[in-house]
Assembly symmetry: C2
Homo-oligomer: 242 residues x 2
DNA sequence: CTATATGTGAACGATACCGTACGTACAATA
DNA sequence: TATTGTACGTACGGTATCGTTCACATATAG
């Protein structure tokens, strides 16, 4: 595995980890590990994509850009998934604007190498299809969630997903960032975070959030968190048996 | 094609129509045409499904059922698509609760026959994958739409999609029905519909809506309509060339 | 050290939508 | 004709969220 940064990088991407050993070996030999820095736009909407991106940790948000300049997250992706879903549906253009919200590292695999892997290792295609299904569940739940649920529930849910996707109780995200991805005012996020901090669920200073009590977050979140979490869990069984 | 009802039924489902002639012939020989009546729940969430359902006209809403009893539409499906997306992702369980909102007819094709068709006619799998992509676009746009857009925009968008999916300017849907699928009060829908009627976009009496001026609806809707409409159009080219 | 940018708290009125309730008009049925 | 059910209009107070703005604290850069 080539790495552009120095460090100790075991792939923690759950899709890659669930593959058969030979497929893992193949993909890791072709993968390049790159840093995803906060705010980085990985692809523009409609752009041809050159690489599939498998995050090791952190959060990438698929952003919708509206004509009036507002933007909001369509879905978020971490180490349970990958960027490049449109690829397995056929057609090489992205259908969203993946933007890094919580930084981390990721394995970049070129479309050519991925094609070769799909050709030679059926488990690769299977794993990507399983993820496509769980992403669909995420999207469906999010549609309903955004219709029915309140700011505090949605913020809590977002923080829980983020917490699942980092390897620490502390990670970097500002209230401004949360307000952008959830399409609400920063003032609303501020008020909600204040309530959550007072309740003992988390603490934060200047963009550093520490989750101190997940159970409180879970109780203030909506059922959508659990549903999506379950879909992710079932899409990445610990090890492929095939 | 077997038909349980008497009548003149040419399949108007755009996925089926885009297939190669031999695939169409095969599927039509196995399909059963059934009436979808208003309010009918085609599958419960998580149920094993036995048939894929290809609507000829009308609107089927994939409903989310929340624990508190509220429900809301995750996505809607008409003659541009089919029920049974989870099938092509692998796994035989539904991930939503398809419910008929605007009645019509549909071709029901058993999973066994569909498997056989996919095996023998590559264009079937291709067409389903193309639709999976456009459904993903619909879901992504809907997530953003439900975050950012107002009642009038969302009602207008829903009516435009419905209008695309029936073969007439008049179709059956109550304000109560719209309020259910959009997760808003009937009173809100009533107020919006009143404004739309005063603007000359539509008229209605007791569950019969007539679209009188699409352009007004389009101007009061949001950009999400056009984006989703485009995705549907590109997923069903007039005729497969392959 | 100073200047600037960033992250957060707090407050204002405005407004969109909520839950609920009630009245009216039409349709179907008896 | 009387009764019942359905579809729709409307109105009330309540509240979540909006848009905006000012204040302040802390980190970062020069």
């Amino acid at each position: 595995m080539k790495t552009e940064m120095i460090g100790d990088f075991e792939t923690r991407n759950k899709i890659l980890l669930a593959l058969r050993p030979d497929a893992i070996a193949f993909l890791e030999s072709r993968a390049v590990v790159r840093r995803l820095s906060e705010g980085q736009v990985l692809y523009k909407d409609g752009e041809l994509f050159t690489h599939a991106i498998f995050p090791h940790e952190g959060v990438i948000c698929l952003m919708a850009q509206m004509q009036d300049g507002r933007s909001v997250e369509k879905a978020s992706i971490g180490n349970e998934g990958f960027i490049g879903i449109a690829f397995i549906f056929g057609g090489g253009k992205t259908i969203s604007e993946p933007t890094v919200q919580v930084p981390g590292y990721a394995s970049w695999i070129s479309i050519k190498d991925l094609d070769e892997a799909i050709e030679n290792y059926p488990c690769v295609r299977d794993a990507m299809m399983r993820y496509a299904k769980s992403l669909t569940v995420q999207l469906m739940e999010s549609v309903a969630c955004n219709s029915l649920h309140k700011a505090e529930q949605r913020v809590s849910r977002w923080l829980l997903h983020a917490h699942d996707r980092v390897n620490s109780d502390t990670f970097q995200v500002t209230q401004q960032g949360i307000s952008k991805v959830l399409g609400m005012r920063r003032a609303t996020v501020s008020s909600v975070c204040n309530a959550l901090m007072n309740a003992g669920a988390l603490k934060y200073t200047r963009g550093n959030v520490t989750i101190t009590d997940r159970s409180i977050l879970e109780s203030r979140s909506c059922e959508c968190y659990e549903r999506i979490h379950l879909a992710f869990a079932s899409s990445n069984p610990p090890k492929a048996k095939d």
